[in-house]
Symmetry: C2
Subunit: 422 residues, 2 copies
């Protein structure tokens, strides 16, 4: 264990040293390195897939479920998709060096805020090996060094990918130490890593709720966490019901396994009898199971997959073709429900009432608030940010979809001609 | 102890509830409340000073030193200065509701980022009672509720000030619960408070290094910390020596007890013989003690208050009329010294060499980097931010002088007309 800690400490120091150089690396070099990574992922397919096979065999032997196995498994087309994502990062504009604002003070001092990398980013993640490539490329483009700690079950795959990245970036002239991969699977290393405030400027946990909570509660440096999405869509008294059907259908069905999918439908009582049977019919055809409060249950025929909602169904992230449904008496009741059960991710109102729309946008405390659109749009790509680091439900530093800029900070640059403070 | 925890929990809930209303409170109401506070500080002077007398007597009895006693003590002119600071906050523009950016997507979705308060801010601070008023007014203006935990030695003063604030804000129509003060002095409450992630969105520690470290290491929510300032001024080979004398003099002498004052002077060897005697003469007249490396000691006559620097003098925040002096061979050596010993606060180069200036600005990793100006300018007021929450040496969320905006976050607002994700 001590040797693993020593090694981790050494990696921390090396990453810090590399980060000093990375901060001033020309965009061209970074892009060249990214293109090299993309090309190597395809060129070194055999080596990567061999390593992945070892992981998959180990996982099968240890009884890993189908869904998890699928997340772990790589194949040529998945490698090509990963390569394509890296090319996308290369094509984005470099955030480093951007001038955020500038002013000339009356005493002649010129002050500007200049965007700079954070320094060293620690990433702790679970089974999907593509995260190794994903985080590395985002960190590289934003001028940060990175220390990667992947899941035990993907160790061979991640090691192979890390080797490919190291070679590809080294060839392009990226300082060695820029991308560090932790080979040891000692669990205690994670706790140790979370105390390395001197050499790690930011921790990004990517994985289940438990991992994110552990990291958030134990890290001594800042954490950039993607959170749970418990998303509501509220169909107001004045909603255009045709739009409301299309939007709720899209929000639930288009991709039910992701954080911005609809979990709970709230419907104003005045439109419930007209609206609910229509959306229920559409949802039923798509295989959606509906967990209803008493009033909704009274409206919906038992032809559909309906059931009585239990208390645990409110505020639950289903990540599946399941929706909770509740009839409310007013916008206020909807707002209260969202405040109580929402996770601050994405919340929508469907309404034609101007004041209701404005109140919803103003009063709902969430990363993304919508009027008359599907919560499925909460996504860095959809919002025009290019690549996405994740979707933050925290309020500090970054909220909602996080792009490259969220991996940076700024420095104040002051240019004078001899000024002193009176 | 349990009753104190229950009370703290109740304060947390009340603050959270108040924060929902505060977020939409009109600027006029907030300004009215601030003016009320300013007026009450003067009108209720007797009550406040009586309470402060109790604290001062207690502190004297317990053997508190003169400097600390002075920080604790209030008098009519200090109350007036506090009132003036509150009026300044009232005069600043309201950050809440500002649109940070907006775009129209090809599918017709209109997306904007709107500035909103963080929610509930917890403040943990030491002896100066003015912090109670200071933080309360900044939180109020930025639409945040606040939970205050002051030092034991200032309990009576802080309680009296909190009462004044509560009354003054209540009269103006600010929701009760917006400003909460913890009366219990149980030390364990601080640890408990640092775990109240559900109801506290941000912790601000204001005090000595030990307090800041304890909070940073134990808080489960984000921390906005003001850090230690170990500030260097490097006089380059091509410096205009007249400017270099004026700037180093100002940076050390104008107010030596603050974080942006000069701690260490680095001088290029080619100008050391001409420069050092001049600045030393000026500094000596102002009573500055100089702790020199061997080469500087060789240059400076023993007429001045000079001594040999020990290893501990490099990277030390003196907060007094003491400066460390080192002669360096090159810009690179200066950069290395700053990287090794600086605290990432404020660093300056004095030079007429364009490339040296650009390299310094680019390569020094600090909140504020200067060319040809005194580091004493690192200050929210001097930078034109209005009131200052503190000066951050962290990189996340806020760096350098922090104004009202740094007490806010943003939400994504998406306005559609029925859009669904393809």
């Amino acid at each position: 264990m001590q040797s693993a800690i020593d090694e981790l400490e050494a990696k921390g120091k090396a990453a810090k040293a590399a980060s000093r150089k990375l901060a001033h690396l020309p965009t061209e070099v970074k892009n060249k390195a990214l293109i090299n990574i993309a090309e190597s992922l395809v060129a070194r397919e055999g080596e990567i897939l061999d390593a992945n096979r070892l992981d998959c065999e180990g996982a099968k032997a240890s009884g890993m479920g189908e869904a998890m196995l699928d997340r772990l498994m790589l194949n040529p087309s998945r490698l090509q998709a990963m390569a394509q994502d890296v090319r996308t990062v290369a094509s984005l504009s470099d955030p480093v060096g951007e001038i955020l604002d500038t002013r000339l003070l009356p005493n002649g001092l010129r002050i500007e805020r200049r965007r700079v990398p954070l320094g060293v980013i620690g990433a702790i993640y679970e089974s999907r090996p593509n995260v190794t490539v994903d985080i590395s490329s985002l960190c590289l483009k934003s001028g940060n060094a990175v220390i990667l700690r992947g899941g035990k079950e993907a160790l061979h795959s991640n090691s192979a990918l890390a080797r490919v990245i190291k070679d590809a970036t080294g060839e392009a002239g990226v300082p060695s130490g820029a991308v560090q991969f932790i080979e040891s699977t000692e669990r205690a290393l994670v706790s140790y890593m979370l105390k390395m405030r001197e050499n790690i400027d930011l921790i990004i946990p990517r994985g289940g709720e438990e991992l994110v909570r552990f990291v958030t509660e134990n890290a001594t440096m800042p954490v950039l966490a993607s959170g749970v999405g418990i998303c509501h869509t509220y169909v107001d008294r004045t909603a255009d019901l045709e739009k409301a059907v299309a939007i709720a259908f899209n929000a639930k069905v288009q991709r039910p396994t992701v954080c911005n999918a609809l979990d709970c439908l709230l419907v104003h009582r005045e439109v419930a009898e007209r609206y609910l049977p229509t959306i229920a019919r559409e949802w039923a055809q798509a295989g959606v199971e509906m967990r209803c409060d008493e009033r909704a249950l009274g409206i919906l025929s038992s032809n559909f997959k309906v059931a009585s909602a239990s208390e645990g169904d409110w505020g639950k992230e289903f990540l599946a073709l399941i929706a909770a449904i509740k009839v409310v008496d007013s916008l206020d009741e909807a707002l209260e429900h969202i405040e109580r059960y929402g996770s601050g991710h994405s919340e929508a109102i469907i309404t034609e009432d101007y004041t209701a729309a404005m109140r919803f946008l103003e009063e709902v405390d969430a990363a993304c608030v919508y009027v008359n659109a599907s919560t499925r749009f909460t996504d860095g790509g959809q919002f025009g940010l290019g690549a996405e680091v994740g979707i933050s439900t925290q309020k500090f530093h970054a909220r909602g979809p996080m792009g490259l800029k969220e991996l940076t900070t700024y420095k104040w640059v002051i240019m004078g001609s001899g000024q002193v403070r009176p």
